[in-house]
């Protein structure tokens, strides 16, 4: 790779990343309206306060992975008493696909498992301190189908204590792949139950880690500064006792009830153009294990409106009796003129007619321009309604034509004028001012009475802009100063 190419990349990145002054001002202004800080040493962040209650309830209802009964995790302010790690008595942890022995006076600190479109999130921790993977599931209804919110794992290891965790987290929207195992500097090649691993087990270190071949999992041990040698010896004994069992997390077997139509989702589509890259094929994501998901598949369909897929027109196909627990998979399809344009596969199970755990496991669609705008295909194409709730043509909106490369824009006609949602500034030369993604309503703005999917249209006496409010967020859409089109 030539230096010239790197220079070109740097110049282009600077160009692409150049921030608009108004945007920066708007963001700086957000600081002034930040909510009061929560006090305490560690606080989960959730975007909507009410989610806190839901998440707490979810975490409390987490399924237990193994047969060992977990004790409540200690709070950071009340660490457990330091045990003696020298006891010879052992307990066995039986997880899904693996097991190991650990000193009986350690505790099972954490057992956590979640799977969704972004992959698997699993944590098992034993020891004498505490471990928090830092992930929270955000259930529907939310704006994050399959959403999981993660922060840094939090370890609390008391002096003389030890925590050993086996975990995998969603890696920035996906799972960190480990197709091959490269032994990095500072690591040494080793085996964990016959599997190749790269390990850092320097006796002088307070953190040991094993990375495993072909697995995204990490086994990590952290030690308190006291009693380290004893604890390190105990951890090595745990690793030596590690046993993988058939059908484990590493090599997930296809779900036994997966129907043929759940395979090759892309092949089933009848797109005229490219296929959107959304999620993976069924099988690359395991069905939910229970404890998460929704009681029926339907809530997921209600939370996909931020993705360029139809809001309406989904049909369950084939019509399977998921309510009775006879089917673990459901497919929803969306057709245009009899041709399949989108498909969503959900997996889950239902117990006693409703207590199911459903989640999206497969998702494929053609691009938005292949759907019928009259059916309200995307949030930007959805019809606008007047104050009485009737669909109106006094406000009309549609996504910019993709064949001209304008699909990032939304065109809204109101009072005979054209307004543009133009996040990329494609039409900056013919706009009354920049589009602002987050701003405040001006004092003289008035609600027009028109709304669409929770978005409300505001206008001022000056017709240069309209404001679109969604919840607490306000966008400013500029007026196009001249008419133009795409041939």
């Amino acid at each position: 790779v030539s230096d010239d190419f790197e220079d070109l990349l740097r110049r282009w990145l600077r160009e692409r990343g150049r921030a608009d002054r108004d945007e920066l001002a708007a963001l700086a202004g957000r600081v002034a309206v930040l909510p009061p800080r929560r006090s305490g040493p560690r606080r989960p962040l959730l975007l909507v306060a009410t989610f806190v209650v839901l998440v707490v309830a979810l975490v409390a209802a987490l399924p237990r992975l193994g047969q060992t009964v977990a004790e409540p995790s200690p709070s950071p302010s009340a660490p457990v008493a330091e045990p003696s790690p020298t006891t010879a008595a052992l307990a066995t942890y039986q997880g899904t696909g693996f097991s190991f022995d650990y000193p009986a006076d350690w505790r099972v600190i954490s057992e956590y498992r979640h799977e969704d479109l972004h992959g698997q999130t699993v944590a098992v921790a034993v020891g004498t301190g505490s471990f928090d993977l830092g992930c929270f599931v955000i259930p529907p209804p939310s704006d994050t189908p399959g959403g999981i919110e993660c922060r840094e794992p939090v370890w609390e290891v008391p002096d003389g204590g030890v925590v050993l965790a086996y975990y995998v987290r969603p890696y920035l929207g996906g799972v960190l792949p480990s197709p091959t195992l490269l032994v990095e500097p500072g690591e040494e090649a080793t085996l964990v139950d016959g599997r190749a691993a790269a390990a850092t087990t320097d006796p002088a270190s307070l953190v040991w880690r094993w990375r495993l071949e072909n697995l995204p999992w990490v086994i990590e041990a952290r030690f308190g500064p006291e009693n380290r040698k004893v604890n390190q010896a105990a951890v090595l004994d745990v690793i030596a006792s590690w046993r993988w069992t058939p059908g484990d997390d590493a090599t997930p077997a296809p779900a036994p009830t997966r129907p043929p139509w759940a395979a090759d989702l892309e092949g089933a589509l009848e797109c005229d153009g490219p296929i959107q890259d959304i999620g993976g094929e069924v099988g690359s994501i395991l069905p939910p294990l229970g404890g998460f998901g929704t009681a029926s598949p339907y809530p997921w369909l209600e939370v996909i409106d931020d993705i360029e897929l139809p809001l309406t027109g989904w049909v369950e196909d084939p019509d399977v009796p998921w309510e009775t627990g006879q089917s673990g998979y459901v497919r929803f399809v969306n057709e245009v003129d009899g041709r399949l344009k989108a498909t969503i596969v959900m997996a889950g199970h239902s117990v006693d007619g409703g207590q199911g755990h459903w989640s999206i496991v497969g998702y494929r669609a053609c691009t938005a321009d292949e759907f019928d705008p009259l059916r309200g295909i995307t949030s930007d194409d959805a019809p606008w309604r007047d104050e009485s709730g009737q669909v109106t043509d006094r406000v009309r909106a549609h996504v910019g034509p993709a064949h001209c490369g304008w699909e990032s824009t939304t065109w809204l006609r109101f009072e005979g004028r054209l307004y543009l949602r133009d996040p990329l500034g494609l039409f900056a030369d013919v706009e009354a001012g920049p589009y602002l993604p987050a701003t405040e309503l001006p004092a003289d703005a008035a609600f027009t009475g028109f709304s669409s999917l929770g978005r409300e249209l505001f206008a001022t006496p000056d017709p240069s802009f309209v404001w679109v409010r969604t919840g607490v967020r306000v966008e400013r859409w500029p007026r196009a100063t001249e008419e133009f089109g795409c041939a």
């Binding site: 790779v1 993660c150 929207g173 990329l424 993604p437």
Partner: protein, 182 residues
Amino acid sequence: MEAVLDSTARPTAAPLVEAARRGDRDAFGALVEPELPFALGAARILTRSSADAADAVQEALLSAWHGLDQLRDPDAFGAWFRRHVVRAAMRIAGRRGRVVELDLATPDPTADVDRALERRTLARAFDRLDTDDRLVLTLHHYWGLPVAETAHHLGIPEGTVKSRVHYAMQRLRAAYDAEERS
């Protein structure tokens, strides 16, 4: 003899961080303001959308504000805040799960046509990369983070950063060549 102060040394951010921890929004604003241009820029590169980028930075502001107690070294606030930005941007990018064309290279008729085409080709090639490649290139070539800091940022060894940058550049070059051919 009095010590000579290094006039180029940056003042410590500790007082501002302490004030922000006590709930002083102005102090927090003073901490984040210098970071915002590059934060927004990186978020735009990673999410490929101005609106998503603004969302990501707002999320980062909120998470950093509430997470100030987790900041161990006040003078490392910038790097710490950037991690919030990257996490938020990658989460949003992953959630969107679709490619949004960000063709900012709308040719300026007064500009050199070859250069404009070069940038447009690069934009398309960059958008063909997966999120991990975009991330490591953004950190290294846009933020200009040294390998060690990139490694710290991503929680991976330095050697892995070097190999990721290397392979990401290879893939970008290949994508660029493919775009040129097409």
